[in-house]
Amino acid sequence: QKSVSAVVIDGYPARALWVKEFTNFFIPEVDKRLAETGEYKMSWQENYGGSIVKPRGVLEGVQLGLGDIGIVTTIFHSSKLPSQGISGSTPFIASDARAVAKAVDEIAREFPAMQNEFAAQNQVYLATGVVLDSYQMFCTSEVSSIADLEGKKVAGAGLNLRYLEGIKDAAGVRGGLTDFYNMLQTGLVDCGMLWPEAAKTFKIAEVAPYMLKADLGAVNSKTITVNADYWAKLPDGVKDVLKAVAIDYRDHVAGIAMDRAAASEAAYVEGGGKIIDVSSEDRAAWANAMPNIAAEWATTLNDKGEDGTAMLAAYIGKLKDAGYEGVRDWTAE
């Protein structure tokens, strides 16, 4: 029996859903499958919560070999990993983490773009993770429709700030997840874009008791990658197991995200929050007032020599096959 060592890194703490499931699902599952043949045994060292890298530093950490396997938060790297913006650039389609995770992961396998981008960072793509069901709009004062968001200051981060371009006079204010409670409590912003699980964790119901169920969509934000030099030295038996378990991990995490989302919405209501449904006409009006950021995304990739247009069409087609049709056809223009 040969021993293979692996240093796993993420800048987020061990308590974060995707990290916890890496420890409790990914690692035991790999060990179990390797034990079946008994040829190899992994020796794991897990380093989370900034003990080697900060959340933004995982990509570079894996690239430089400070970690062998990493959970890269892709939304930090829109320049190096432009194709990872696929679901963030196509809002108002699917709020199902499982469907989005599967579709993005298949796109990564069917088109070379995503794997090329990671290869340029000296790493091998394993699988996509989707850890939240959907961004929703949490407000401090009563709102009954999308129109009530006009002129409001809204906290968000990354691509979702661009969704606000579809709402008249709404101003996006950038904030980190841990700042949202304070920003809402103090009135720095009127609303914040979060997902229900984060809202439960940070007790957002206390300060923003009105959740407009805008269903902006689930977003891929995590990718499991392996340092390319490390990968090259791995025996094929271990490679195959890692690849297979990564896909199971993808579905496992997305499934938990969905279960938690349902429980979190219930907790939000229990904590004094009120969930306001939004009509699909309202959502369509919002989506149609937005610039076509999906087309912008495709153009960016086309300019880099990848087939962005085809990736976009294929991705939306996969979601459609899974039963999710958007309120706006992002491929139309």
């Binding site: 190096k80 200051k153 691509l159």
Partner: protein, 181 residues
């Protein structure tokens, strides 16, 4: 001859550190201005400046690495030199040699950082990688990577000069010699 060349290099290195320090100082000023304009734009006109967050992050790096060489020049890098001062009273030569060794060690450390970050600057220059969210606000990465290697390289040079000239605190020494004459 060697001495005048050395004096010239020292003067140029010190001037570079002072100039870089002034530049970093302007960044502090810019930080104050940008943040105040943003607060007013957001609070009074409900239209925050895009990219303030990224600009603030950038400016922190700029301030630190533009000023680093000058901090080294005036010997304000954090240290606990009680033992060295004590040694200096008993055996000035030994203390001076120890300061040289310490400065050499520091030069190596700064040099290592400059060496490892410089290719990153070239790479970022080539790829024109950016930071931020496309369509909202982006800044190129290369100035940050450049300032890492520039600041540490200059700090390395100043440490090397301190090893050669065996003078740790130039401004104090200068003041001392003025008083003596």
């Amino acid at each position: 001859m060697l001495k005048t060349t050395l004096a010239r290099i020292t003067r140029i290195a010190n001037l570079a550190a002072i100039a870089s320090n002034a530049l970093g100082t302007l960044v502090v000023l810019a930080l104050v201005v940008v943040l105040n304009v943003d607060v007013i734009a957001r609070g009074v006109f409900s239209s925050p400046i895009k990219g303030t967050y990224e600009m603030v992050q950038f400016s922190v790096v700029m301030i630190v690495f533009l000023q680093l060489a000058d901090v080294v020049r005036v010997d304000r890098l954090t240290r606990s030199d009680g033992f060295l001062n004590l040694l200096g009273q008993r055996s000035p030569n030994m203390a001076a040699n120890m300061r040289r060794i310490i400065n050499a060690l520091s030069a190596i450390f700064m040099g290592l950082i400059a060496y490892i970050t410089f290719p990153e600057f070239l790479h970022m220059w080539d790829t024109q990688d950016y930071f931020g969210v496309p369509g909202l606000f982006t800044l190129p990465w290369w100035p940050v990577k450049l300032v890492f290697s520039f600041g540490t390289a200059l700090a390395c040079l100043i440490f090397v000069l301190k090893v050669i000239t065996a003078v740790d605190r130039p401004h104090l020494e200068a003041a001392k010699s003025e008083n003596n004459t």
